[in-house]
């Protein structure tokens, strides 16, 4: 399989995970595990192989910005870096979704947070990191339930 094919396959797999996380229901535990566990593990296996196989045969390194740029001119190393993004962003997305459900954050509000974690990882995480303590801070101790039904 060529680097391009590996790149497309890894990206498609991650996108499947994000689709499940953002749009599908959360009531089945087996379905939740696909984006939160299985896909990050598959991507991590791929990353581990790529980094062991290609990192040390590429020039550059992590010590200066110029060296990082040089490292990423090598396809194998750049692919490893990309798969690293995909694996960790999805893993964080899975954690955010789980915690967001626990604190009662609406799926409508989760959607943009997860979408941003998908597209611009740390920005989405930042949103959640600010919203979560605010939600917990304002969580009502006791609410008098009125009106129809209860969940």
């Amino acid at each position: 399989m060529s680097f391009e094919q590996l790149f497309s396959s890894a990206s498609m797999l991650a996108m499947l995970g994000w689709f499940i996380l953002i749009l599908l229901p959360r009531r089945w535990e087996w379905l939740n595990r696909i984006p939160a566990l299985f896909i990050p593990i598959i991507l991590s296996v791929l990353y581990s192989f790529l980094i062991a196989r290609y990192f040390f045969s590429a020039e550059g390194g992590f010590d200066t910005l110029a060296n990082v740029q040089q490292l990423f001119t090598y396809s194998g190393a750049a692919l490893a870096g990309w798969v690293h993004y995909l694996a960790f962003d999805l893993f964080i997305g899975g954690l955010i979704a789980k915690q967001a459900d626990e604190i009662g954050l609406s799926r409508l509000i989760q959607a943009p947070i997860l979408l941003l974690t998908f597209m611009v990882g740390p920005f989405g995480y930042l949103l959640f990191a600010v919203i979560k303590p605010a939600m917990l801070r304002f969580k009502p101790k006791e609410i008098h339930v009125t009106g129809e039904g209860d969940s």
Partner: protein, 265 residues
Amino acid sequence: MNLIPHVFYDEQQKQLNLWWQGTLVLCVFLALNSLLYVLDPRMLGDEALWIKPLKFEISLIIHFATLAVLAAWLSPEKRNGRAWKFITSVVVGAGLLEVMYIFLQAARGRESHFNNTTTIESLMYGLMGVGAVILVAGSFYLGYLLFREYQLQKDDVFLFSAALGLTIGSVLTLIIASHLASGETGYLAPVDEEVLRMPLFSWYLNGEDLRIPHFFATHMMQLLPLYGFCLSRRNLPIANAKVRLFWSVGIYTGIVLLLFVVALS
């Protein structure tokens, strides 16, 4: 009756209601946006690049908070009923999409409104129009529901002012904003460089800027209920309070329409 829990919480989910969850998201955008406004010197047309998303974030935070507060006066059946929950989801969703797109376009250094350069931007401009209609439809609907509540008692001047503010404010906003959108750029940048500009708002103070009547029409949704609240605290006879309310509605609407007509001519 203590209304505070009804302003903030969803009784069924036992958590902050969707209005405040959406407001939290907007607050994070606003904080980041303020930082960008200070640090990013880029300009777009005749304005600082980040001023527009900043204005939309502030204005939607006020809009969401207004609807959350005033919805506390609905009966529990209506507030927890499907119709109001549906409207809440649609309005919050539309508001967040609107802000996220305007923020994205600012980051790209491109216009969000009046941008038909590419197919996607043109499509998004159209969708933002739909989003804006949804936003005012939501406040109009709440105004209608509050009017129904008012009809049950007929002695609550605050409820009446909230119903009038939301419905008339929404209608005026829709009329002015659709006029704004039908133009080429929304407002005409004056040829004469000497025209005064309002600090922070960046309006042109030559009477031709349609954003000014838009602003006053939209914020009738806050000002009128506030006035109604003050009236209700003064324990005036209801007939007297209503007369004052009608006068203020008439004068305020007149001023907005006057600003609108002047800007058009």
